[in-house]
Symmetry: C2
Subunit: 693 residues, 2 copies
């Protein structure tokens, strides 16, 4: 990867002779950006472009450059790459569009590129890309003029588009390095993350992601990396309509949005809700020390903004800390006699009286930061252009005078007024302080810092998502399994099932029911009766032989009259388990493999949609954590004086189901609904196992 970011020599193919406005000339951009390595140009007629000799054929080049940047019409790309490979070039950035982003022909062309890279041990970034940017050494492959950042921050962006690197002000703020992987025919997120793991110029990683091909490999690398270098991802295509466009745009697989969230969480990757969130989060991570607790000191120029700050902190999951005694003693006496200090500290009456608003602000901010029971500070300050307010204007010198290094705690500022943009610009490069356009963004920036602090505290093994290799089992699901057959399969994995059996006659049913002990349940088992509850195919609360016989006969008739061709496998007679109805499930996600789901079961599942998901496999601790995410968790832990259900048994069933899923990649879906959880164990009562088509 190093050769992509720091090539000693570059070949450009597809550069136009036109320059200037509207020409999108990659050579011109590379020179403007300050690239100092050797540049070779190939052009059939030009002879020379911008002072660089143009070779008419690739084979004429005097050497094999480290990297080739290709910006030809799509139909000519494969041919040129073959020439370059023959010349010995092994790194490519393919700018050209019209591949998997366009149509069937484009997809075929792109497959050919992938194959060429494999065959020749070459690496390709793109196609449909702006390529690479490195502000440390001054290298870019973009065809759009991007101003160079001269003291670059150690922030690296991997994107599936050029927009976030061209318009970094709207996505991440200033960047050190960036790659647009475009259609990602070869180089993907995982390759680049592995490179960034060892890159000393990368301390914070931003991702713009539309889809992933190998979700598990990405997560393994990300989980290894995330506690050393924060990773923040803007995953787009959340909405259904968005997901469809993502497919046509980058031709990558898009899994369901919830699964992405669960996967990122599992690997310690922070997900940004939108571009603004990404920007705010990266600013906090780039500029501020960690926020080690939720207790915030607040300085405000007005009571109204103090209230707004409290609202914003509460929404961000943070809270106001106690007002330090030292601040009370130092600041309160400066104000009017009736003015009492609280947190938020209302600076205005004191600033009015002393005529030196900033001095009061400084005392307050420093006093908060010095207090051991305050974890960070948020200050709202005026940004007013009038010359009459020049005494209120925060400058880099003001921030320097706070000596923020000594505290090791974050300070966020939110300015308001007609001069706020200028203030934000003035302070953009000042270390140790982050500036936001609103109180809400400032509070959110702090919350993200705290989130990352918590991620760093997670034991490494919890982030581990590697699955054990599938084992060998006598049990194989050769076909879809329903009801009793599915339960039998599950019980081989240690998932308890309700005692019972399939019966073919009313007499057999009554005999079994007596043996099991009343009450019992009867259920129709037939492929046409998958939704048996809805169709009246389940009879509960049968408490004697006669009731069992009657129910058996009536179910048989029902199946017959519903559809004479129905293939009734029998009527299932089961002991009636009593307890909470849960749903446990697993489904194979195209991106991330087996995904575990648990939730409230029974008929109300779809009303409340109270479910939680994460990736398989699950340890006991992870299973317990997943259950605790349910809103209905309180129903399991002893609601209103009822005894708690056997949570260990439920967690064990979840963990066992996750092992089953990992060991049976041929299964597309496995649902247990309901699993009845009682104070003395749990039982899978009905289940359904679907093989991959």
């Amino acid at each position: 990867m190093e050769l992509f970011f720091n090539p000693r020599s570059v070949l450009l193919v597809g550069v136009s002779r036109q320059t200037g406005v509207g020409a999108y000339n990659g050579l011109e951009m590379m020179l403007r950006f300050g690239y100092r390595g050797k540049i070779f140009v190939v052009h059939p007629q030009a002879g020379e472009i911008l002072g660089h000799k143009a070779y008419s054929r690739i084979r004429d080049l005097p050497e094999a450059p480290d990297l080739a940047v290709i910006a030809l019409a799509r139909d000519r790309v494969v041919h040129v790459i073959e020439d370059c490979l023959a010349k010995g070039i092994r790194r490519y950035v393919i700018i050209s569009q019209g591949f998997a982003d366009a149509d069937d022909k484009g997809r075929k062309l792109q497959a050919r590129l992938t194959a060429l890279a494999k065959e020749h041990n070459a690496r390709i970034v793109g196609p449909n890309t702006m390529g690479v940017m490195n502000n440390f050494t001054g290298f870019t492959t973009a065809f759009v003029d991007v101003p160079r950042v001269m003291q670059p921050p150690r922030v690296t962006l991997i994107a599936q588009s050029g927009a976030p690197q061209v318009g970094s002000e709207s996505f991440t703020g200033p960047l050190g390095k960036a790659v647009d992987i475009g259609n990602a025919c070869d180089v993907g997120f995982e390759d680049l993350l592995e490179y960034l793991e060892r890159d000393p110029e990368t301390e914070v990683i931003a991702l713009h992601m539309e889809g992933l091909v190998n979700g598990r490999r990405f997560l393994e690398v990300a989980a290894r990396l995330s506690r050393a270098k924060p990773i923040v991802v803007l995953k787009t295509g959340r909405s259904e309509a968005g997901a469809r466009a993502a497919l046509s745009h980058t031709a990558s697989m898009v899994g369901a949005d919830d699964v992405f969230s669960a996967a990122f969480e599992r690997a310690g990757v922070m997900r940004a809700a939108n571009a603004q969130d990404l920007l705010d989060t990266i600013q906090a991570l780039r500029k501020l020390p960690p926020l080690k607790g939720p207790r915030i000191g607040i300085a405000t120029p007005s009571g109204a903004l103090g209230i707004i700050a409290l609202d914003a902190l509460a929404a961000a999951g943070l809270q106001p800390g106690r007002l330090p005694q030292a601040v009370k003693e130092a600041v309160e006496p400066l104000g009017p006699y009736w003015h009492r200090l609280h947190n938020p500290v209302d600076l205005w009456p004191i600033g009015m009286k002393t005529g030196d608003f900033l001095k009061v602000a400084k005392e307050t901010i420093a006093g908060f930061l010095a207090d051991p029971e305050i974890d960070g500070v948020m200050a709202m300050l005026p940004g007013l252009s009038s010359p009459l307010h020049r005494n209120n204007i925060v400058t880099p010198e003001f921030v320097a005078s706070l000596n923020l290094e000594r505290f090791g705690k974050p300070l966020v500022l939110a300015f308001y007024g007609d001069y706020r943009d200028e203030l934000n610009r003035n302070l953009a490069r000042v270390e140790g302080v982050a500036c936001y356009f609103s109180v809400e963004q400032a509070a959110h920036g702090l919350a993200r810092l705290h989130q990352y602090h918590l991620i760093k505290s997670v034991p490494a093994e919890n982030l581990n998502i590697s699955a054990p290799a599938p084992g060998k089992f006598s049990h194989r699901a050769e076909q879809n399994l329903l009801g009793e057959a599915a339960l039998e399969f599950l019980s081989a994995y240690g998932i308890p099932t309700v005692p019972g059996a399939l019966c073919q006659s009313a007499g057999e049913a009554a005999d079994l029911a007596r043996e099991l002990g009343y009450p019992v349940v009867l259920k129709v088992i037939a492929p046409e009766w998958l939704h048996k509850s809805d169709k009246g195919g389940v009879v509960l609360n049968l408490s004697n032989d006669e009731e069992v016989r009657r129910a058996f006969n009536s179910l048989q008739e029902k199946v017959q009259s519903d559809n004479a061709q129905a293939s009734l496998e029998g009527i299932l007679v089961q002991k009636q388990a009593q307890g909470r109805e849960l749903l446990l499930g697993v489904k194979q996600d195209a991106t991330f493999g087996p995904v575990m789901v648990c939730g409230l079961g029974g008929v109300y599942t779809e009303i409340w949609r109270d479910t939680a998901q994460t990736l398989a496999p699950l340890s006991m601790a992870q299973s317990h954590a997943l259950l605790a995410k349910l809103r209905s968790y309180r129903l399991l832990t002893g609601f209103r004086g009822e005894p708690p259900v056997d949570l260990d048994a439920v967690a064990q069933a979840l963990a066992n189901l996750s092992r089953l899923a990992v060991e049976h990649p041929e299964l597309q879906e496995c649902d247990i609904n309901p699993l009845i959880a009682s104070p003395a164990g749990c039982w899978a009562v009905d289940a359904r196992i679907i093989r991959k088509p």
Copy 2:
């Protein structure tokens, strides 16, 4: 009110002789702002300030000015007002702090101000205020220098703080007029809304609200106004901590946050989630024509931003419209042969090929706006500072060339890149187009326009929240009512109850049960047994005389052994109603009066918190609408083949309960839980009525 905004003459009391930085001299600010009326100054020694003669005593003034602005230390304010009243002055802005915003003494001083206003038919804005700003005529009472807006928009702000008018860039954008009502000892939101109703210079109204004293009166005026002039409110103090600070800051009553949301919704007032939302919403309302439907055309400079736009629209409740055939025919042929147009329209490949990105953007935007199946357009466009991109820069002339007036549809722009702030500034005054910092904000701005369009379509009678005057009733709740007594009270208002009665002996209970028909329910009725289900004070499913007798005796013993002093009123014997358990309730809110609540009832109420609220009274239509807001509404309308419950009966019970609440202001709370709703009617099964203390 007019005299507050356009006084012909002003008296200033409490102006300092100091001027310039740090002096906060109100006279200096008034002159800088361009006030052209007569100014009188009273100062004991100054003789003259900034060229204005200073009278040493109020009685020496040659006339009674229209308005007095008072900025003295709090202890001198009442005395000065008395002098002013004697002089005949009837309008006041009291800048001074330290009243109800501070301590007990301050609250007493403020009560005196309120009384003086009443006695003398005078009006007071403040205290603790920055007062009034009028950019149309050039008048301000602020002690902070705020630049005058020379072509003011018809936007008026009423706030409970000076910050939103001083820092309007962070709250509302440019303002025409503004008032800070501060502690609102006299003039409040309602007075000002009534004035704005008739003010031709006000077309959009922004509110910053911390609390309300007379909620009903505010809503009546707002409901009358909201369909003619949009009202957007930033109600702060959402969080519990925030609410506490609001109380200490403005000494106004703060009701529960959900009640405020329900009240605003009822009056057609739009609630902003935070300051940024307020800013974005006001910009859309101020600059754009209505968005009459949800179908949006999207122009994007990259596929990636197109996906982000789809996510943002979906989150905002809008959707992409169909690509107009005219756009396809005009624009697609200009691009590479493989580039197919969809909505979002990816402009880049076409702009690259034609070299004229803006021409393509213009054709696309105009094509979308001209299509009858597109309701509005969102365009993301580059804002890049490089001179090589000057051909991509949107200018006011570009916007003018679109002739937006002809479409009558909104266009929102979101720029990205290092030149975006400048672009936003350049276009700030261009009519018919709104510019946002992010795609999410742009989508949200459109959604707010659509919301206002829907508010305008609501029939006037639905916004009406005036309650009928309390009637005269033989039924009075002289004390708290529980169980049977509460149900009897409810049934007088036409709320059906389950047949049953209080019994004193097991024999009486069995006789009644037989009469009612089995199954029946027995319930302990005693003040100590309010949570009777939790304590085992309810026995269900009793199906014969013997079971009833046994249950009766066992309940009696339970009460006795729980607490020998318990005052058992009897055991309630009721027919066991079968159906869905709902909760209906009403509580007196300190700000808004009776608030209706409905939700899922029974023991799970607190798990799912599936409730909806609005203000009483409720018509049948409003009752139905409230029920339809429940997540569990599907359980009522025929879930999974079950018959629907009698929704008309439930709505009637809600409407009747709301009438009861309006007619009995002495009741603090009335809960029906459960109300059993069946396909053939509904019955209140248990209830609780609490009088005001």
